[in-house]
């Protein structure tokens, strides 16, 4: 047996791991944590690393503790958790649709969430938590519509992607209409939200996205293995004991829920869901969705983008601008690579 796989056995239990995947994921998490500490220590009021650690442990002075825990920690935590959620969401959807472009930001889920948020913000005059609720509802409704439109003898992957792109285009047009018809102040606020940002995160947002991850983790672990089998095609999956249609729906709902909560908390952040799973599987060189590695990569990407947006560039840019710019570069590279290898994405 080669070293690509390692088996851990305890009594009658056994776990099968890929050492390379474990190493890559651990390094990504460590890198994300390191950048997070940098983000906690830098700002208008610099805090030395030692003080950061003491603040987190609750043994620093009140002032420093307030800055680190109350002002900076929520932003840093939301960046990591939203990144992880988007990574997972993208990994599931790309695997279900067997297409790197089948990620939530491409097939209209993020746009649906944005529309939901905008409707609440501009038409109903809501703000804060109600915008998040709007985004959540928008995302779920959009998915239901896409799923039902694509459903004929089962939800076929290509139909899901094409239907998603179609619906998403209509929703973008509707979003533009909403903004154009809004008052200047509302339009500016809407535009800021649409970029996607973790700037004004509070502990409430941390609880929302953290709670979603905790609740969805058990079904994710349970159905993650079936995701591997679904990639063999429905007939083979059923033949090996997977209830394909149900399993696909459960996985899709987990993915949609994560994308929805992430968008509700941080606005429609571009490209993390698309890029994180692809980068993760290139680094791990493992087949399949690589959900764990994608989550680690998502957390790293978003934390790093937040750091670049705040510290590297001359102005304090929202994280969505950075991810969009990096994502554009990445997508170009991905497409060029696939063409060189003579493969087609769609």
């Amino acid at each position: 047996m080669s070293a690509r796989r390692a088996t851990v056995r305890v009594g009658g239990w056994s776990l099968r791991l890929r050492p390379r995947t474990v190493a890559v994921s651990s390094l990504l998490v460590l890198a994300a944590l390191a950048i997070a500490v940098v983000n906690l220590s830098t700002g208008d009021f610099p805090v030395p690393f030692g003080e950061v650690v003491r603040s987190l442990l609750g043994t620093a002075s009140d002032g420093t503790g307030y800055v680190v825990r109350e002002l900076r920690l929520p932003r840093v935590a939301v960046a990591m958790l939203v990144g992880a959620a988007l990574g997972i969401s993208g990994a599931i959807f790309q695997s279900l649709t067997r297409n790197p472009l089948g990620s939530p930001d491409f097939i209209g889920l993020t746009v649906g969430a944005a529309t939901g948020g905008l409707v609440v913000m501009l038409l109903l005059g809501g703000s804060g938590l109600s915008v998040a609720a709007g985004a959540l509802v928008g995302c779920l409704v959009t998915f239901a519509v896409i799923y039902l439109l694509a459903f004929r003898r089962g939800a076929q992957p290509v139909r899901l992607v094409l239907m998603g792109i179609g619906v998403s285009t209509m929703l973008v047009a509707f979003d533009t209409l909403l903004i154009v018809r809004a008052k200047l102040e509302g339009a500016m606020q809407a535009h800021r939200w649409l970029i996607g940002s973790v700037n004004s995160s509070t502990m409430l947002e941390v609880a929302l996205i953290g709670g979603a991850l905790v609740v969805l983790l058990p079904p994710l672990v349970r159905y993650g293995r079936e995701l591997e089998m679904l990639s063999l095609g429905d007939e083979a999956a059923v033949a090996h004991g997977v209830r394909a249609e149900r399993s696909r729906l459960v996985l899709a709902v987990i993915s949609v829920a994560l994308a929805a909560v992430a968008t509700a908390v941080a606005g429609p952040i571009a490209f993390v869901a698309l890029a994180a799973p692809q980068l993760a599987s290139r680094l791990t060189r493992a087949p399949g969705a690589n959900i764990g590695a994608a989550a680690a990569m998502g957390a790293f990407l978003l934390t790093a983008s937040d750091w670049i947006g705040r510290r590297v560039l001359p102005l304090d840019l929202p994280v969505g601008v950075v991810t969009a710019a990096l994502g554009g570069l990445y997508l170009t590279w991905l497409l060029a690579g696939e063409w060189r290898r003579g493969r087609q994405l769609v």
């Binding site: 591997e228 089998m229 090996h240 004991g241 087949p287």
Partner: protein
């Protein structure tokens, strides 16, 4: 029990009119059953229903005395395996990992790789002669190698009944024989094999039981030497032919009649 698997009044349809109509069939245990018939006669559809991949419109498939739909799907997967006509190769997967996925029905969340799993996978790879390919990427293999890998995956499932949907289509002659020989070996090892094939001569050679379908019903069934007659081939495929003993095996050999003679209504050169 003589027939663990069978169809009772099976009617199958996709959207419109039935593809298979009120079909009864018993698969004898330990048989090498080959289903033949013209394109669109419902043979692959029947195989899918036997593997509970396709839900019947009416009637039922019976496995071990109970309706197949009444079992948990994982339980069925431990008794009966299916090699679909065109399974998808997950990108970037190597042979050994693909074969290992054949163990899914036997695994649990906290029992992901037992010693039986390891043994079943290495046995399956040895039987199908893919052990040397273990670290190769599946999407870089030739069609013949790939088909052996898929067979290994179904084999790793360790089911006593194996259903194979056109396992030799798209393979050259050498690889067709390769795959059929492996099937024959598995059959000799005690497994029940049900395969859909196109080549009537290969079907006659390898099958112990031949099932001939046309228009969604079984028109003949039995040992190839009884079933495969010139009359039946003309009837079912509309091809005038001679059926002679295969010089190599003595099984029926179907020889279609030459085009110019067919026009004259004469079968043999005079």
């Amino acid at each position: 029990m003589d027939n663990r698997l069978g169809a009772r009044g099976l009617t199958l349809a996709y959207d419109g009119s039935p593809v298979v109509d009120d079909l009864h069939l018993d698969i004898a245990d330990g048989s090498f059953t080959v289903i033949v018939g013209p394109n669109a006669c419902g043979k692959s559809t029947l195989l899918k229903a036997l593997a509970r991949v396709l839900k019947p419109r009416s009637g039922s498939v019976v496995l071990d005395g109970a309706e197949i739909a009444s079992y948990p799907t994982r339980e069925v997967a431990r008794r009966l395996g299916l090699l679909p006509q065109s399974p998808l190769v997950p990108p970037g997967i190597v042979v050994e990992d693909l074969v290992a996925r054949g163990r899914f029905a036997h695994q649990r969340l906290l029992r992901q790789w037992s010693t039986e799993d390891a043994r079943a996978v290495s046995d399956a790879m040895r039987l199908t002669k893919v052990t040397d390919l273990a670290d190769r990427y599946v999407d870089e293999l030739s069609g013949g190698q790939r088909q052996r890998v898929w067979l290994a995956m179904v084999l790793a499932q360790q089911t006593s009944i194996m259903l194979l949907d056109e396992p030799t289509t798209f393979l050259d002659l050498a690889h067709q024989i390769d795959v059929l020989d492996i099937c024959a070996e598995l059959h000799e090892g005690g497994r029940t094999i049900v395969a859909v094939l196109h080549d009537l001569n290969q079907a006659s050679r390898y099958a112990t039981n031949l099932v001939v379908m046309r228009g969604g019903v079984v028109v003949a069934q039995g040992p190839p030497s009884d079933v495969m007659t010139a009359e039946l081939v003309n009837d079912v495929f509309g091809v005038p032919c001679l059926v002679i003993p295969d010089p190599a095996t003595g099984t029926p050999l179907v020889v279609p009649v030459d085009r110019s003679r067919r026009a004259q209504g004469v079968l043999l050169p005079q």
